[in-house]
């Protein structure tokens, strides 16, 4: 299913001063069916805000978000969402977590157990069904969250920096399995990341947001075949180009009263 973000504005009153802060300004996106998008932008520019709006759990001030030709008015089972914060329920076992959406949707016990098992296998968590979240690692928790979202068979996956707190090695491994999963299920995906390499490994297109108030600054097509090699010449060149573009953006838009957070989008990832 495709998705369109049309002229979306969003702002918040500052919790301390009460002053209104414009976070998103005239954001336009065209998300095509089956493609993998990475959303990049400086820290605090409004990536999570945008993803929440697309997920239907935050109202935009202006503009609209369409999915398959219909306006999004609230959360929908067609949208699988992975939040930036760890979100699996600590009071449920791994498998109960994966089954949760199915249970709420009224699936019979056997069917949901089978399906949960299937998706646990998919994210390579076979045999961890009965573990509790505090008994597994951070990377595994994110995989549970992914399995939980996938188990509902959404049309579109929205993922907010799911791997940003993980070490480089685990991140690469999970990125690879994500590519694999995307290849197999062909689900439309919007994936927020700070990491240029990660974006280049995953994306068909990289959407670059500007600093706050965020608008779409640039959309970069990544026409490399999978599996991608991060040491490939072309790959490295693209990485360098994007990094220098980020640097330039940072240089241009940094103003004294608005501390620049572009440095956090550093060249080599975190």
């Amino acid at each position: 299913m495709d998705m369109k973000v049309k002229k979306v504005d969003k702002g918040f009153p500052d919790p301390k001063t009460g002053e209104f802060i414009q976070v998103l300004e005239d954001v336009n996106l065209k998300i095509e069916k089956g493609k993998f998008y990475c959303l990049m932008g400086p820290s605090g520019c409004g990536k999570s805000t945008l993803l929440h709006i697309m997920a239907g759990i935050l109202r935009q001030d202006k503009g609209k978000v369409m999915m398959g030709g219909k306006t999004i008015k609230g959360p929908s089972p067609k949208l699988g969402v992975i939040f930036q914060e760890p979100s699996i329920f600590p009071w449920m076992t791994v498998k109960q977590n994966v089954e949760f959406g199915l249970k709420v949707a009224g699936f019979p016990r056997n069917a949901r157990s089978e399906r949960a098992q299937q998706y646990l296998n998919l994210v390579a968590l076979k045999g961890f069904d009965d573990h509790r979240p505090h008994e597994i690692s951070g990377g595994m928790k994110q995989k549970v969250a992914i399995a939980r979202a996938l188990a509902m068979d959404p049309q579109i996956m929205l993922m907010d920096e799911p791997f940003c707190s993980l070490d480089e090695q685990t991140r690469r491994k999970l990125d690879a399995s994500l590519v694999e999963i995307h290849h197999r299920s062909n689900k439309t995906t919007v994936f927020v990341t700070h990491n240029i390499e990660e974006a280049l490994l995953l994306a068909d297109e990289i959407i670059m947001l500007s600093m706050r108030p965020a608008t779409v600054k640039n959309v970069i097509k990544v026409a490399l075949n999978h599996p991608r090699d991060p040491y490939d010449k072309l790959f490295l060149m693209m990485k360098k180009n994007i990094a220098s573009e980020i640097d330039r953006c940072c240089f241009e838009c940094a103003t004294p009263d608005f501390p620049c957070s572009c440095q956090e989008v550093n060249l080599e990832g975190q």
């Binding site: 939040f83 329920f89 009071w91 449920m92 979240p133």
Partner: protein, 272 residues
């Protein structure tokens, strides 16, 4: 920690606890002896005499104020149980409403906090006016002192459920009801249990006091205060010991284990 070490540590902990109790008993014996030596008006029961009296009351089933000690204990426990049950139902219900809606919270929370500040015995005139001189007054006092901490902790617990769980529930397609049952309740189990424990202890304390003041011919508190007239101080001491044991059992055995168990089940113990 290797298992041996764990048992050793537990042994040491229990040993130290027992040592503390023994010290208290030794002090008690000393004070009793001194008191009995210094003035002769009434006899200060020693630990041994208390133990003997306990045996008489519990094993030989001697009557105390025309009723068996079991009856006194059961009466107290029953009033406590009824009062507490009422407090739990109202406290959790009100707490859940206050936790669910900020408006309701703003309307009722100040009142609940004021209720919590009122010392238990101050409710006696109100209890008497409402229910007269009978056990319903006792039950009322237990309920009113137990209800506030339960409501406050329930409301607080539900409000402090991390927003990420609420959002997750939403995107997983939960209705408001689903979210309450599957997310809000489990996520706030520990604060609710904490409120329940405080409420139980409050109720127990006020129960003894209420029985003392209301004097309804039965109950542990009543028996203690009766010692003034019957000069049966050993029996009063027995009652105090029983009160301690019951209180300890509920607080340290029942609730401590329940909380530990729930912390584990709810995944609130810290992982690695």
């Amino acid at each position: 920690m290797p298992p041996n070490d764990k048992y050793l540590q537990m042994g040491i902990r229990i040993g130290l606890g027992v040592l503390g109790v023994l010290i208290v008993f030794a002090l008690w014996a000393l004070i009793a002896r001194y008191s009995n030596w210094a003035h002769t008006s009434s006899h200060f029961p020693t630990p041994y005499e208390t133990l003997m009296r306990m045996k008489m009351l519990f094993i030989s089933r001697q009557e105390l104020n025309n009723t068996s000690i079991y009856d006194h204990v059961l009466t107290s426990l029953r009033n406590w149980g009824i009062g507490y049950l009422i407090a739990v139902i109202i406290g959790i219900g009100a707490g859940a409403l206050m936790g669910a809606s900020e408006k309701i919270n703003q309307v009722f929370m100040p009142t609940v906090q004021i209720v919590q500040l009122i010392p238990g015995l101050a409710w006696i005139p109100i209890a008497l006016l409402l229910f007269g001189l009978n056990e319903r007054s006792t039950v009322f006092m237990i309920a009113i002192t137990a209800v506030a901490p339960i409501a406050i902790n329930t409301a607080g617990g539900m409000k402090s459920v991390p927003d990420i769980y609420r959002r997750t529930a939403k995107v997983m397609g939960c209705t408001v009801f689903d979210r309450f049952i599957y997310v809000t309740v489990p996520a706030s189990t520990l604060p609710i249990l904490n409120g329940l424990r405080i409420g139980l202890a409050n109720g127990w304390r006020v129960l003894i006091a209420a029985e003392m003041v209301l004097g309804l011919n039965k109950g542990l508190g009543y028996s203690i205060i009766q010692a003034r007239w019957s000069l049966d101080y050993e029996a009063a001491f027995v009652c105090i010991v029983v009160i301690c044991v019951i209180g300890l059992f509920f607080e340290k055995v029942l609730f401590a284990n329940l909380e530990r168990f729930m912390a584990k089940r709810m995944g609130m113990t810290e992982g690695i």
